[in-house]
């Protein structure tokens, strides 16, 4: 009897140990997979950033993730600058100015709209909110052909204002502002300010605006990230190379370079793989920097304030 009891005691003490070992192995496997995916996520960007440091030959034959020299970046930049009489400078300036205008117009209109909806007693609030939510959930690509027809009717094709104005419609921003103002400013404040004779505009400028800096930063962040890499809209609306944005210009570089299309004849300026990679860096790195700085904002913003952290 006593031996039997001892055996049982041994078995029961071994069970949690086995279970603990299993959990430890499970934990290790999960963490290893998470790290593996993180490494996999970074490798392509690493290649992109390192490729311009090499010559075209080195890009093919050297270790893909090796660094050659800083001189490589300067050489690739000079070649890009010489491409089509310096059209790259136009693309950079276009991307910066279009995005600046979009971020400004989109953030201001969206924040004003969100404020009015949360603070004022307006009619058709329901219709307004539903149409904003629909616009937020329907992908912008769906409306590109109808928008082209509209812009064509008002002769705005090949005019940067077509892209700036269309991209300034920012339903996600209006919704985010509505949630922000509803959650941060109690309606009683508006009521008492109105009793003191405050108009809607002075309510916004004196009460809401000073409390809106975090919101405005969030609106600018999403407007920038959503539009900097946009390809389809400027591709359709702005056919002249001098109006291209950087992403569209990068597409044009693909098309014209013999590095990717050996069928194309050599260009007057050597636009090869390092130059294309540097153009890719110019498109991707600004967004990456903004993303890395504002990771938390992205998560909260994408869920439109529905998460209480």
């Amino acid at each position: 009897m006593s031996i039997d009891f001892e055996e049982k005691a041994q078995v029961t003490s071994e069970q949690p140990r086995k279970k603990r070992r299993k959990i430890k192995i499970g934990h290790f496997a999960v963490n290893a997979w998470l790290i593996f995916w993180a490494v996999l996520s970074v490798i392509p960007m690493l290649w992109l950033v390192l490729a311009p440091s090499k010559t075209d030959r080195e890009v093919s034959y050297k270790n893909p993730l090796s660094f050659a020299s800083f001189h490589g970046y300067i050489r690739a930049w000079k070649n890009l600058q010489d491409f089509n009489s310096g059209v790259l400078a136009h693309w950079v300036i276009n991307s910066v100015t279009y995005n600046l205008a979009i971020v400004l117009i989109a953030s201001i209109t969206a924040s004003l709209a969100g404020f009015v909806i949360s603070a004022s007693r307006i009619r058709f609030k329901k219709a307004f909110l539903i149409s904003t939510l629909i616009m937020m959930l329907v992908p912008p690509v769906a409306l590109v052909i109808p928008l082209f027809i509209e812009m064509n009717k008002v002769n705005l094709i090949d005019n940067p204002w077509s892209v700036i104005l269309i991209s300034s419609l920012y339903p996600f921003g209006a919704f985010l502002s509505y949630i922000y103002y509803s959650n941060t400013i109690p309606p009683e404040i508006y009521e008492s300010a109105r009793l003191d004779g405050c108009s809607d505009f002075s309510l916004y400028s004196r009460i809401a605006f000073p409390l809106s800096y975090p919101l405005l930063a969030l609106l600018a962040f999403f407007a920038f990230v959503g539009n900097w890499g946009n390809y389809f809209m400027p591709y359709i609306m702005l056919p002249s190379p001098e109006h291209y944005t950087l992403p569209v210009g990068l597409g044009a570089l693909f098309f014209s370079t013999p590095a990717i299309n050996p069928g194309n004849g050599a260009t007057s300026v050597p636009i090869l793989k390092p130059e294309i990679a540097l153009a890719g860096v110019l498109v991707a790195v600004p967004v990456m920097i903004v993303f890395l700085i504002s990771q938390k904002r992205l998560i909260r913003g994408m869920l439109a304030g529905s998460i209480k952290e």
Partner: protein, 297 residues
């Protein structure tokens, strides 16, 4: 104060739809007399069925892969709050910076056996030439990988964020009751973030249906002819800009808008994703307040 936004909403949200509807029955090379039967012409276009199969094949792989992978990864990230996971999360956001033309450039490199950072693995599998990978029959898989790799990271972070909204008391109570990590994930966490999963599902579905930039760039700039009118949006683009059939292009755009609209309405009205949104008019709110006061009295 509302008018600047309302003006933009009308000009670039509502008016294009009206213009598209007006434009549908206009005269075009394939519809010389004009008329609404252009919808029928589009449906009989020999390029529509192949495009439909391509996009359906793409969606059948892309949407479930995204949802399953993103949920699995975000749940794994949420197992514990180890400090090193902050760096892992930062790494996951990196591919989100690569979209459109940069994504095409990177995938051209990644799948080119002479350039790829993974060329060792590719050679090990016997892939030494680009033509072994870049063919029309492989395009669905390539585009699924491209879209998946660009989008998965940011959705992992977003769903990880949604998991943070679950109250610690609920999780602690489940742990005390003897829930394992797997049970905690499947029986407690997943049901509690259901609305965010549906939200993701609709956005991923609507975005996938409108795939354009990647096949268009691959076809026009990298491997000519590999993805000719491969997707619906490419067909719509080709109808408008290659054939000058704006009526047909508008009809196809309107048809494609329907599933996206249904998805949007489904999220708005059939989930509690936007439960905090107050759709009621001020009049109704005042009436309700009066009623409540009367009941309390």
């Amino acid at each position: 104060m509302l008018s600047p936004y309302l003006l933009l909403l009308f000009l670039f949200g509502v008016l294009p739809l009206i213009m598209a509807i007006i434009n549908v029955p206009s005269k075009s090379p394939s519809n010389p007399n004009g008329g609404w039967h252009v919808f029928k012409i589009v449906l009989h276009d020999f390029r529509l069925v192949p495009a439909m199969w391509h996009v359906l094949g793409f969606m059948a792989l892309f949407v479930p892969l995204m949802i399953f992978f993103v949920l699995a990864m975000s749940l794994m990230l949420d197992v514990d709050a180890a400090p090193w996971k902050k760096w892992v999360r930062l790494a996951y956001i990196v591919p989100a910076c690569v979209s459109g033309s940069v994504a095409v450039l990177l995938w051209y490199v990644l799948l080119e056996p002479t350039l790829s950072p993974f060329k060792g693995v590719m050679h090990w599998f016997g892939i030494t030439q680009a033509t072994q990978i870049w063919k029309t029959s492989n395009l669905t898989y390539i585009l699924v990988f491209m879209a998946f790799f660009s989008l998965a990271g940011q959705w992992i972070l977003i769903q990880f964020g949604s998991l943070q909204s679950i109250s610690h008391e609920i999780l602690e109570a489940a742990r005390v009751d003897g829930c394992s990590q797997f049970q905690l994930a499947t029986k407690i966490k997943l049901p509690l973030i259901r609305k965010y999963v549906i939200y993701m599902g609709v956005l991923v579905f609507a975005g996938g249906l409108q795939i354009f930039v990647e096949p268009q760039l691959l076809n026009s700039s990298v491997y000519h002819g590999i993805a000719q009118q491969w997707s619906f949006d490419q067909l719509s683009y080709s109808l408008a800009f290659d054939n000058g059939n704006f009526g047909e292009a508008s009809a196809l755009s309107l048809m494609l808008l329907v599933p996206s609209l249904i998805g949007a309405l489904l999220v708005i009205f059939k989930t509690d994703m936007f439960e905090d949104v107050n759709f009621k008019s001020p009049k109704k709110l005042r009436k309700e307040a009066l009623k409540r006061e009367a009941v309390n009295a």
